[in-house]
Symmetry: none
Subunit: 219 residues, 4 copies
């Protein structure tokens, strides 16, 4: 769990405002174009620094990308950890709802980070794609798996659930729901009334309800 900051001392030594400006520009560039099609030229122009400086800080395009995506992963992990700790002892479905709400707040308040996160999650468009992809996916999946195991233990959930498969399914919906939020922010969504970025709170209730009770009609 290396602190991403310590690997680029020159960058760390900059003033926080400048540092943030650079990170935002990188986030925006990678978020908009993905890793391969992102342009370092465009990026430095957006950040208002010289090309030489950026390469001094991060060495290579891949180095910068790694830094950015690791920062984002740390953010996500920190968020999930705090949700887990704050909801310890609560029933499973309350916790699930909290996770959805926290994710929603993350995509809303840090849309550029969300963009990076979903790009990587869904395409592996990154240097060393598979390693990164697995790292990113595993992190939130393990978290959800933990919640499921705990839910089975406390009797909230059916005992015959496979935690691996269940967590995968939960993760699918969680990620897709949050992706819809960030697509809306990026002006990439259709934005119609059946889009999850419309009335997201009701969406959350519905999602939780569906997972609780299933689809089938009962007598």
């Amino acid at each position: 769990m290396a602190d991403p900051g310590t690997r680029h001392p020159r960058f760390e030594r900059l003033e926080p405002t400048l540092r943030q400006r650079i990170l935002d520009a990188a986030l925006r560039e990678f978020g908009r174009f993905g890793y391969g099609a992102a342009s370092m030229n465009r990026l430095v122009e957006g950040a208002g620094i010289s090309k030489g400086a950026l390469f001094k800080y991060f060495g290579t395009k891949a180095g910068l990308f790694e830094h950015v995506y690791r920062s984002t992963m740390e953010e996500v992990k920190t968020l999930l950890r705090s949700v887990r700790d704050q909801t310890a002892g609560e029933p499973f479905f309350a916790r699930l709802e909290r996770v959805l709400r926290a994710g929603l707040e993350f995509t809303t308040s840090r849309p550029l980070s969300a963009a990076i996160y979903y790009r990587v999650i869904y395409t592996g468009d990154a240097p060393h794609g598979n390693r990164i992809l697995a790292e990113v996916q595993d992190s939130s999946r393990r978290f959800l798996r933990g919640l499921v195991v705990e839910g089975v233990r406390t009797g909230d959930l059916r005992a015959d659930l496979d935690p691996d498969r269940t967590s995968f399914i939960l993760q699918s919906v969680l990620d897709r729901f949050l992706q819809a939020q960030y697509l809306e922010f990026m002006a990439l969504s259709s934005g119609g009334p059946s889009d999850p970025s419309t009335a997201p709170d009701q969406w959350i209730s519905h999602i939780v309800g569906l997972f609780r009770d299933g689809l089938v009609k009962r007598p």
Copy 2:
């Protein structure tokens, strides 16, 4: 929804074998590298045609891409239509299982088409990203929505389900499950025992079961 063929009359006039060779090369290039990082030079070399010809047929890189992804979408639509027709009258969960199986077969037999499809779905890495993205998403979602509405009508499903939200949730899991298959094909997956590309048939049963019954423990 315009027939993709009619937009490029010069291309349509070619012999089918040559046409297919070009489409395959394009599929391979865009599937491997995504839209932004794909190279027309490499593509042309792989297809064994001249650069001039390709641009005559499709005008621009974006034009070619649009054609390719529309072809893929047509494939997907055709597949879904055939599943719908073949399962008409069957219970909802049987139909859902058939959809999953058909998708699985599609990603296995046409992995390059799947690559295009999932790239677009998840990243909008395409020219005019938002329009394309919406089109692609809407197609399979409308299909699932139709299944849900039918399921409610026949009494297989709870009457209080919101078809829009339910179809969104189903689509999330369906797409993510199939993406995992193609990631495995692209050697981008971790491939561990908790990966959906391991024993996919059992995954399908599990997914269907979970949607049917929900997560909650019942007395």
Copy 3:
């Protein structure tokens, strides 16, 4: 003894005048700056072609350099071969004189080729430096060695000469003498009266005489 031309078919297909213009520009650039410090930008400007074209022809800077130096080596080899054939049967020192004269004419008439040749000979400043260096050096050295062996056989030379060492020594002086000519052409020489570019004919006689009789005073 591969024909250097056949490796770059696109280049070979150009009009001879354009081809020569490109080769001259490359010769000039590499001759003036060596391989490492030569600039492809400057080169294309000098040649009056686009950058893309040059890379289409030769693939890489190294590819262009290899072509240029191989052309030069072929020129040198052809020259030496023709001298050998035309002087077959003549006494050793007459042949040596002819070699010097032929070299002199080469550096005078094709100074850019000479520049490449001497750069490579003396510094190995080339891609795959040692391989190229050895190739270039060996070619003319083997030639001189052949002359020595023949001279010993015919009784023109002392029987106790080591052909390897003798040819090395002859080559040293030959190359240095010719280098002085090309340095003069490149305006790099001091040009004083003791410079071999002044009255080169008399220099040739002197060199031959010295090798014939040695330095020592005899009674």
Copy 4:
């Protein structure tokens, strides 16, 4: 001939150990890569000083290079002077042999200096190439010329020798022989049994013998 030290007073004022560290790093960089391809960034890192300091001392890359090659030339001159003084009164061929041996020892013990020296000698890969080239060449040539004149005076050598041309020829072989040593050190030589870096002592005898007696067979 200006003392190279006095041109860079800031540098001269440093402690000798630091000064030497800087010179060694510069020697290493220029020796390995030549002037054009040498990197001040790499150099500074190797020397362990700041970039600003280096430019304060020497102004420009060219300035530093000039200083370094002048130091090397001074080394060479000092070496030759000491050989001349130590062998005063000895016969010409004994002195020539001593020169060869001293040169051999120089290239072996100070290969980086030798690299600088031979690069400049053979290619003019230096700023203000022609001036530097002439200076370097003239120095050792004048020395050999002095030996020849003395040899003629003492009757060791033929009276009809032209000292200019003779010294040029001797210098050609001397330089080329020593270059072969440094190429071997730089791993640029073929290293075969006919290479002068193999059994250099026997090569020296052979060279001296050849110059003494010439090539011609005598009755």
